[in-house]
Symmetry: C2
């Protein structure tokens, strides 16, 4: 049977890929992905056929993967982070209904929430929520509701896509919403270039985060009411009772 | 400087560990962990010193790691899944304040939410929330509030620790709470033994989930209002507008 692996390559650094992901990329014929992600991996997998499509061409990329698989090739569709967190695996299953002869297997990876948490310390030890601030496919009112509900429930929050050229004030708007329920002194953190050159984490308060300008390569972490700054690390305790 | 790595070994299967995690375990002197997790890895790292402590002895386990590191050994403290999601990295930073000469580095892994999602299909493509049903260190009222808020905000939800001998009806209680805001027909899934022998995923509705008995090796997924059953896979679309 024709086969496509949808592979999360992790944050970027080769070593943060799972052994399975590396084995799949070594054994497949063709690696397909967004141009930037293909550049991250191509040096480690010489001799493979690499195919790319630009951003916002995700549907075309999926169709390309299925068409290549139908030629009898074993195909790996790569995603940064995990394949299933804002990744390509969902669209692959949806478009896959048109290609019943192609089997899909998801190969998991370390998503930015996990990778970034490790840089900042341990912000996600307790219940948390992952929210994207991109309103390209989601109405802003829905995002707003989620920020408010998660804050009211005292969840730690990870923000993906916190900013872009068109959305330069979205993080500020999100912080103002979260501060309706979270203290301005809540411990927060930002991480840029997770697992890539220039990786760097900064711990700050929610009030400070509000006035911080971040870019699209940043992942943002907001603690719960118990999160502490422990010698510069962002640490959420295991619960609400004494350790 | 004395060094401890806090290492997420992934769901269980050796291949789902990151390359970095495997390299750290190969290069360290001593591997410390909960008995069950040590059993999962010991065959792959012959010649290492293995130390274990039983469940609920997490503080003792951390102290043991620091004491071993103070003897000049390079220590790896292992956690199943990721080290930072209900893992040991938080407690290690907290207890680490007593050992200023020991450096801590977190090595990330694939947590059950990510690993289980890959088995079920693509349930976490959009915003989601991770909640543990264990009330050992968290008041039940807090858990209840989180289930209600996340459901009201139409988040996909992953439940860790959905059941135990003492808490056999917690998943049922949680489903009843979520059904205050989520349709009984919401697409859900359970995964047992992620990345281990007997791994198996089942897709069902929220109404069916309510009457399903799960054990402590199960991770539970509840979709958002858009989540679909695509040929037996649980698939959440990328947003609320047409693909």
């Amino acid at each position: 049977m024709n086969k496509i692996y949808v592979v999360g390559i992790g944050p970027g650094e080769y070593e943060q890929m799972t052994i399975k992901a590396a084995n799949v990329l070594k054994s497949c014929d063709t690696i397909i992905g967004y141009t930037v992600y293909v550049k991250l991996v191509e040096e480690y997998f010489p001799g493979k056929e690499f195919l790319t499509t630009p951003m916002k061409k995700e549907v075309d990329r999926c169709v390309l993967a299925f068409e290549e698989a139908m030629k009898g090739k074993t195909v790996a569709m790569i995603c940064s982070g995990d394949a299933g967190v804002y990744g390509m695996s969902g669209l692959m299953y949806e478009i896959g209904t048109r290609y019943p002869d192609v089997e899909i297997e998801v190969v998991c990876g370390v998503t930015a929430a996990i990778g970034g948490a490790g840089v900042l310390g341990a912000p996600l030890i307790h219940d948390f929520c992952v929210i994207s601030l991109s309103d390209l496919l989601t109405p802003w009112e829905k995002i707003e509701k989620r920020l408010l509900s998660a804050s009211e429930a005292d969840l730690s929050i990870v923000l993906y896509n916190p900013s872009s050229k068109k959305r330069h004030d979205y993080l500020q708007k999100a912080c103002d919403l979260m501060m309706q329920f979270k203290s301005p002194d809540t411990v927060c953190g930002t991480v840029v270039n997770i697992g890539r050159e220039g990786q760097s984490g900064t711990v700050m308060t929610l009030k400070e985060l509000r006035d911080t300008q971040v870019d699209m390569f940043t992942t943002v972490f907001i603690g719960n009411s118990q999160t502490k700054n422990v010698n510069g690390k962002m640490v959420t305790p295991r619960g609400y009772k004494n350790v």
